[in-house]
């Protein structure tokens, strides 16, 4: 069993690890797609195009990016209310994400879901959820299927610190450990559940340490360091594919925007804290790393930035132009038989 200490050591290693150019640029690009898409969604929310909730992933992009870089379309991701980043990183197009938040028929959930219900099983995005914690159990179940079916596919749950004190965490991790399921548990510990600090919800804020209780490896990584996440997830996913069972990865990170658009940003946390984390923004940090290591020039990075800008503009236009769902379809697919 890997100890937390080992896990932390692997962070240190990770930042020294050099990824190849191709991987690096892909990670950079993916984080930027998420960031720009979220920024666009925040603007669209303010402009009134998003009728429901909108929880952005800004500040946490390194997590989804670093983990999903190892996943294939037939691996299964189960996510939360803060799931845009997971969906994008798992391969859902910007078009279909924006269109979904707009409530359009072309959205990845055909307008049925919005921000908290992004479904694209064709690329292994098995859904985000408006309820905290079920994703943990469902990813465990995906692991169960993949083991029973004798494949090397993996199930991945993304969840916040808020889910850690929920019974589903306890039950899910225990079952995954005792049955050695190919499941990856990714906790994005951003220190708050809405406005309630993690510190007031538990005496033990060290999430990775909890893995040992169930008998699975627990690793804590800097969730704002995409290389660290990439490295830890890579190890865990290889182990899972090889039959080595589940892993818990705690990514220590921060959301720099309010819990949801339209909510207040501070009050429950200090402006200094927010600023300190903004200074640790995973994207410029990694961009600088990419350039410093000579993997890409500033021009090349700018080029990616421009492509991403176009991609988001295209996605927005697509969402704007898309039709509304037909009310006559409101009753479709409640049952498998159609009725």
């Amino acid at each position: 069993m890997k100890s937390k200490a080992t896990g932390q050591k692997s962070v240190a290693q990770a930042t020294n690890t050099r990824l190849d150019r191709r991987t690096s640029l892909a990670l950079y690009r993916q984080m930027l797609v998420i960031r720009r898409c979220e920024e666009q969604l925040a603007r669209s929310y303010q402009a009134g195009f998003i009728p429901g909730a909108c929880h952005t992933y800004i500040g946490q992009e390194a997590v989804a990016t670093g983990v999903c870089a190892h996943l294939r379309p037939d691996d299964a991701v189960f996510s939360t209310h803060r799931g845009h980043g997971h969906a994008l990183a798992k391969g859902v197009s910007v078009r279909r994400v924006i269109a979904e938040l707009f409530g359009k028929a072309t959205g990845c959930s055909a307008g049925r879901g919005g921000s908290m219900h992004l479904f694209a099983p064709e690329v292994g995005m098995m859904g985000t959820s408006g309820i905290v914690a079920p994703c943990i159990l469902q990813a465990t179940g995906a692991g169960y299927s993949f083991k029973l079916l004798k494949t090397d596919r993996v199930g991945v749950a993304f969840f916040g610190d808020g889910a850690v004190n929920n019974g589903a965490f306890h039950e899910g991790l225990n079952m995954a450990a005792v049955w050695e399921l190919p499941t990856l548990f990714v906790c994005e510990n951003n220190m708050y559940a809405t406005e309630v600090p993690f510190a007031s919800a538990t005496r033990n804020q060290d999430v990775a340490s909890r893995a040992a209780v169930y008998g699975l490896p627990g690793v804590a990584v800097d969730g704002n360091d995409v290389i660290a996440v990439y490295k830890a997830a890579g190890e865990a996913i290889s182990r899972a594919r090889a039959g080595g069972g589940p892993t818990l990865i705690e990514c220590k990170t921060y959301r720099t925007r309010p819990h949801a658009e339209g909510m207040r940003d501070a009050g429950y946390r200090t402006v200094e804290e927010i600023e300190a984390w903004k200074a640790r923004d995973p994207i410029p940090h990694f961009r600088a790393h990419v350039m410093a290591t000579g993997m890409a020039s500033e021009d090349e990075c700018d080029q990616i930035d421009a492509e991403v800008k176009t991609l988001i503009e295209d996605g927005l236009q697509f969402a704007m132009d898309s039709p509304w769902p037909d009310p006559a379809t409101a009753l479709d697919h409640v049952y498998s038989t159609g009725k």
């Binding site: 429901g52 908290m116 219900h117 914690a133 004190n165 509304w324």
Partner: protein
Amino acid sequence: MRELTFTAAAHEGLAEEMASDPTIFVVGEGIGRRGGNFNTTTGLYDLYGPERLRDTPICERGFVGLCVGAAMTGTRPVVDFMFIDFILDAMGELINQAAKMQYMSSGRLKMPLVLRGCIGVGGASATHHSGSYASIFVHLPGFRVVIPTTPYDAKGLLKTSIRSDDPVLFLEHKSLLNTKGPVPEGEYTVPFGQASVCRQGTDVTVVAIALMVKKTLEVCEQLVQEGISVEVIDPRTVAPLDIDTIIESVHKTGRLLIVDETFAPCAIGAEVAAQVMDRAFDDLDAPVRRLNGVQTPVPYSAPLEAAVVPQPPAIAQAIRDVVAE
């Protein structure tokens, strides 16, 4: 008389009860300093501190179970679910524990437990934040189920709920929270089991639930123009249900429609229909009809969302149809 919003009136009820009874405490996510996602507890943390305004981890089953134990041992917990959808993880603690303790102990234990949260379809809340679930608690023994629709009732019924020694579901439709209405200054309560006849009429009785009361009242003037006089009844509490008031009205009108945005099968409308048939069959000039939301999870997008719950034109039409029979 002064006007308050539904939220402000309910808040006042909670604040008054907490001031007079130090054994009352509230649990929920963000109901401490933050004052609640729906401003249910604004300012109370400053008065009463964390023990009585307890921010919880996200463990609905856990804190409901905790409150069951607390209610058995001398305190009076109020669970603030924010959205009532989050109650589902706590069903075991409610159905098998809270609802049965008084019975199993032959009344030696009490269960003064309030379970409050927002219900209803609206505002693109999507399928995990649009539930109601009232009918489930009506079905099962042991619960009181309160669905106020006016600020006056919100305050008076919340006070009654907090004083009750039974587990009470206090369900607040999110589209009613900002509606205003008269609320007197002084102390009052509203009892369980007394329906309110919101509008007198002679041709047809409409029993409406939650937001549907407002939507039904909206179409009544138009129907008067058409020569249809509608009596509108808001049960206010669905367990206990004031069936007598409904039957009295049906005795007069001979026709009954139940309008409820939740799913039809095995719901309040079916129960009212069955009871009215049972007790007032001969008064009925036409079959009792129901108008419900459609049998599907609640979709997000506006055109879909509007299609799954009764809208005023559909309500008006359903009333016309019942009268035409």
